[in-house]
Symmetry: C3
Subunit: 208 residues, 3 copies
């Protein structure tokens, strides 16, 4: 993949994540500033946290104005056209899966480049993919969806693991990244289609 293609896909993911934040903000009756903040948080908090942890100053979201501009565009579109955005919920979910795949793979790759070991890099790659959604939910006082249902973080984990593994084996970077991202996207796509979930612990409340 060329850098231009990668960079374009990165902004596509940013846009999709920002839509998910702005949509939740409108539903929770936040004001315009709140909706834009949730758009920005959902799109960038994962990458910002990763950058703080690996010591990349400043995080990309504050050093490259295109992330802010993309998130603001997504936020404004959602604010002024919420009913239309709701109607294309399915395509947005596809873009979100693209964003998840790209963020997981590029996040792992960036962590490895900063000298983090493979286990830590996989964790940080996954965090790049899911951190924005977690902050989005916490800001409107909901338990993060990723902790409760659907197969979402596991898809990010798969992509991150494949990338770290390929790098460790010395496989060529571009095809490795492509395969890792496709695996993440495919697993997330199948999980949406088939309604896959992780198990929940079964127990009897000893107090009842």
């Amino acid at each position: 993949m060329t850098p231009l293609l990668l960079s374009t896909l990165d902004l596509v993911g940013t846009f999709a994540f920002a839509i998910s934040g702005a949509t939740l903000g409108v539903r929770k009756r936040l004001d315009l500033f709140g909706v834009l903040t949730l758009a920005f948080a959902a799109a960038t908090a994962g990458g910002i946290t990763r950058d703080l942890i690996i010591g990349a100053h400043p995080p990309a979201a504050f050093g490259d104005w295109r992330y802010l501009a993309t998130a603001m565009a997504a936020g404004l579109v959602t604010f002024f056209g919420y009913e239309q955005v709701e109607r294309v919920r399915n395509p947005v979910q596809m873009f979100d899966a693209v964003g998840l795949a790209l963020f997981a793979v590029s996040g792992t790759s960036k962590a490895l480049a900063f000298g983090i070991g493979p286990v830590g890099a996989v964790l940080l790659g996954m965090l790049s993919g899911i951190g924005g959604g977690m902050l989005r939910d916490v800001l409107v006082t909901e338990i993060p969806a990723v902790l409760q249902r659907e197969l979402y973080a596991v898809a990010a984990l798969l992509g991150a693991t494949l990338l770290a593994l390929g790098t460790w084996l010395g496989l060529p970077p571009a095809p490795t990244a492509l395969v890792a991202a496709l695996a993440c996207f495919t697993l997330r796509y199948l999980a949406i289609r088939r309604g896959w979930n992780l198990p929940i612990a079964t127990w009897r409340d000893p107090e009842s």
Copy 2:
């Protein structure tokens, strides 16, 4: 403005922000430690986040004991004299507006000094002003007030933008900072007096 005056105003802002945290803590029936924590969080979380993002180690709140002492003083006053503090709610709101103006302007200025571009510096200046209040609300599981109502973040945004613009134009620093802070304070003051709010998206729930 002399450094002494600036530093004094900074601690005035810290005190006012800490009062807002401690007041919420008392209302939520936190214990003494919880009230002091909310005072410290409200007063310092915005600046700490900014310093982490720009790579200023350690953040001022951990390197200068006067911030802790000021926040603790505000917390103790509120804990032991809550009813009296509630009675002077209006003056406290004025101090809070002073704090917002100072934090927005000094935050932008510090971000620029660390080599952040103008767009990122404006974001970080605004975050310096509103971040403490956001963490304060999240810690007691309320949706941050700044995302829902009143014209608060926009005032910080105005001050931050004017400072970045003046710096970019090469205007003399002190008058630029003064004008930017006054603009932020004035907008916030008018918003309180006149009850200005940002719009909320209008939509019909497609499921109802």
Copy 3:
């Protein structure tokens, strides 16, 4: 204490903190990923925050795979054996007190080693001990327990203060750390046994 003993105790604390996170996750009906995330967050968020603030990149939790492995083990044990884990709640609370003592003392010590002043180092030591539990609670939208009841943070504060004081007085490091950790553990132990709490502000709601 030998480094091996210290390191073992550190992982014991990590295990106990992770149990507290996983237990809450099971109670809140999170899925397997959610339970493991809460285990990891409770065990490591305090230390990660401290490391970000003092500029130690990467935080230990991402640079040493044993923390992740320990937290995952605790999470899996709790997920698949929740009823049994609930039955040993009292021993777990003892391990948690050990973890609190170790994290408070080692956190203060690390902050001092990174050149933070005594006041900031005490704050960061306490934060190392209580930060994980705070994030654990915020992620499931509960007001952090440490802000509301029991004598928990104060025990961490005592341990951190004794360590900073001993270091400032030039006392030999190992006995200082031992005494500080024992003081923290003892205070926490007595607080559990006797049900000690901090005061809550008393006030009459002026609106009622």
